[in-house]
Amino acid sequence: MRVSLEWLSEMVTVPWPAEELAERLTMAGVKVEAVRRPFDGLSGVVVGRVEAMDRHPASDALWLARVLVTEETGTGARRLTIVSGAGNPRPGDLVCVAPPGAVLPGGWRIDRQEIRGQVSEGMLLAASELLLGAKPRPDEEILVVAPDASYPGGPPRIGQDVVSLLELDDVVFELDLTPNYAVHCQSVFGVAMEVAALAAEVDPACGRVRKPVGEWAGEGPPVSEVARVVVEEPELCPRYVGCGVVELKPGPAPLWLQRRLAASGLRPINNVVDVTNYVMLEWGQPLHAFDAARLEDRTIVVRRARPKESLVTLDGVERNLDEEVLVIADARRAVGIAGVMGGENTEVSSATREVLLEAAHFDPRSVRRTSQRFGIRSEAAIRFEKWVDPNTTPVAADRAVALLREVAGGVPARGRIDCYPRPYEPRRIRVRPRRVNLLLGTDLDATDQANLLERLHFEVDAVAAYPAPGREAATAAQPADREIDLWVTVPTRRQDVAGEADVAEEIARLYGYGRIASTMPRGQLTRGHRRPVRQAADQVRHHLAGLGLTEVVTYAFLHPGVFDRLRLPPDHPHRRAVRLRNPMTEDQSLLRPWLVPSVLEAAAANVRRRADSVRLFELGTVHLPAGKEAEELPREETRLALLLWGYDGPPAWNRSRREVDFYDLKGLVEEVLAFVGVDGAFAPATPRITPAGRRWSRPRGGPLDTWARCTRRSWRPTAGTAGRTWLSCTSRPSWNWPGPCASTCRRPASPAPSGTWRCWCPGHCRRTGWRRPSAKGPAPSWTAWSCSTFTRGTRSPKAGAAWPTPWSTGRRTGP
């Protein structure tokens, strides 16, 4: 959301320079992302009068203009001859002239130059060159300045600087609004209310907001002759205000209005549409103008769409509707998707003479669902889905009617349609100042708090309250003596303020978060705990890094084709993976059930980058589908993968390197097992591949097809030596490392699925305590790091049962 400072200043007196205002708004929660001066650099451009417009003698596409830029005075008139690309200005028209030496926004300096044999003394400007919103086009016409008095500083004069004429020294704030502030700050008026609340601290006079209201008297026919309105769905459309304007003269809107739209990021279209957009920016109330003559039977019906109904929206796309969609219809067909976008069939055109102006309040959820479904993020939808104050609706409609009369020559119809069966009442919230202080850590008395709230135009009644019966009186927060309660009436435009805590936030942000003193929580001392298994995991990670392996972190996603590339049999359990319903890309559509593909990919990427020694590990989570898929969360396990590839270490002048082999990896696995105090044994697995699976090695097409293709060239670090990848992965739930012994002590019943080799713990691996080193016999292999460390304080599962996850996987909605 962009807000022009010039526009803002019309409604509120800003006592600070732009940067300071931005800082103060940011610190009050209305985050100013950037302070822009879009016209920075613009200088020397003046108003001139065309005296003659002729064809360029040497070109059909060019024109030669004679422009008066200084009136006939004592020093004499100054006239310039300028070559122009468009010939639309007629003699007598006022245009914007950049004489030699002028600078356009962005620093483009204009010089005298020769074009096709004619010296051009400057340039005639089009709207896009002054950043007035229009899209730059090759056939864009020269901007003609209307000689009327609608400009802020009166009618334009020859030689007048356009900066003062069109207020091109404006500052634009770019706001980054969180959803709650978006409710009331998506309009210049809303921001002005915030500015006023802040400025009132400096000067109470600055706390007043000059509301941009429009006054008009119905001079035309009664509005019922323009159209009549039937709201069939008051739940989804609680308020519908309609005004009629006739005898309109569509055309370009005045420059001041175009400029404000452009500063706010909207493109000028024509004066009728521009007025609806202008009022939307000003009041936050989206408006729509229907060409009343094109409304069948001059009727507006707010209803749900009929099955198989369709509508071509203003963006030219045909939308298929159904009963879920709220539409604005005439007697026969839909003419707009309520709150989202109007239809082409009743669009305002240059032929439009009378319009029905719609200002409504739609149900935010319904608008949100519809805009998401059709993928239309229109300015209207963005506002409606947050909340548009239903009590501002007629004010905005009045403002629009008044503007249409002013800038489009319209005549207002008599009267106003207003369907508002159940008016929204402002909320009244009970606020206990003591409770607010407790929540904020402040010491503000009831009067201070009330004053802060009144700056936001909240009405506050102070009520002396006596100890309430029951629970409240008993709590520590509420001592038994007399207290003041505040009853706060929140305007309906502040839908985000719903409870005492919300009011506390309003108090805090106006008081200033920075002024609240930092304290430390008081209370019982506690010791911070980490689950023993997490401590163990971290120790193993540090140990592996000490052993020369580098930790990687890979995405938890997999490509479904990876199982074929790794030649897993079709019925392999690893192929049962949790599938995402809406992945970003196909190669991220599965949640990985094992780490192997991820670390292989990480290694391959490094080999592609010409690494010659890759030693990796990842301690990561995998997800295994639960039995009852939609009722139970997938099982989540922490696994460890180790990978060695290439040489056994960095090169050195005094050592010959060798390639790692199976026994390097086996040694590493044994080291990890010893470190965590687990005995391990190795045996060939089925299918028997000795001594280690060729399946992982030398990917020459075949098994590792895809990554073989991308790595083949760099796969051999030196000529004649094929690189071999040695990989270990804790690949079974039964080896739920570093889980409890009970589950690791069992010899797995089925062959290890990795197909290379497997490791299990025969017999006992639980060692408790330590033994004194004995002089006789071999030293006992003891470790202070026994398995019982992992299980301390947790219940050991039954033999064979899976180790329980530390959270419940079931679905429970209530406490």
């Binding site: 506390a504 609240i516 980490r530 971290d538 890094a545 930790e551 972190v553 319903r581 490094n606 056994d648």
Partner: protein
Amino acid sequence: MTELRELERALSAVEAEARSAVEAAARPEELEALRLRYLGKKGRLTALKREVGRLPAELRPEFGRMVNRASAAIEAMLASRLEALARDETARRLEAERLDVTFPGRPWPRGHLHPVYQVWEAIEAIFVAMGFDVAEGPQVEWDDYNFVALNIPKDHPARDMQQSFYVAGEMLLRTQTSPVQIRYMRARCPELPIRMIAPGRVFRRDDDATHSPMFHQVEGLVVDRGISLGDLKGCLDLFAREMFGAAARTRFRPSYFPFTEPSAEVDVSCTVCGGTGCRTCGYSGWLEILGAGMVHPQVLANGGYDPEEVTGFAFGMGIERIAMLRYGVDDLRLFFGNDLRFLEQF
């Protein structure tokens, strides 16, 4: 008498001969041979000793002393020569075995922990020392926990800020670590105080230089009687100083999260320029590091606590964000590219 003179001359000759022979010897073995040649049973000195019979009895002791003196002299000669040879040998060997200590050593391979996990551990350590428990929750989570119990019902605009990956039915990949708040409170209720952090993986449908579909967050939650916004400020001030150095300052700005009220966005003084303004902080002097706030009464109630009786604060931060600030990394994707040349710098 002349015989004695004669023998004395012969002794001197042997001694002189031995001296020159010993001095010429270059190796210990040669010295051993010389010992045998002069002092052995068949040696030259022993042979001279036998000549004693030619002398009259009164001169014999005199001759004996002369022989012993010569024998001792030769012994001494041999010993000193042996010692000299040994000294030379050591010197020679030392010379031969001298090391050039300036040559590079044989490298030991060193591994590296991932920077994101290093920061994760650092954050954990700070809060554990402050008495926070480390809690966990599942990465595949129920919509109820991830959104509804946190005051984000269906059709809530806040869902736009967090585009989710859906799994099956009402299951999704958690978009934040905040659901652990609910799980933790429900598991502990009515215990007090609650002080926990929950680090973990989260997922959002986003992928560019500053967003990744998977990243890591740390959630924090404190619930007790009388917890205030001031306490939140105090805790996070302390965290910022521990994490970014004693000079780090914080700034709290009002913000919005559906599950906290009041809410705050927390900035820390720029780690690069210290607050004077630079490219990293967009010339503002501040860096956004985390979101926080007082736990919304409804969320406390969803956790089983009575919001009239207890209050609490919660915060959440992105670990990658902190890692980027701490190490000056400007592209989030580097953390998940797993380029060893990158990882080996941490």
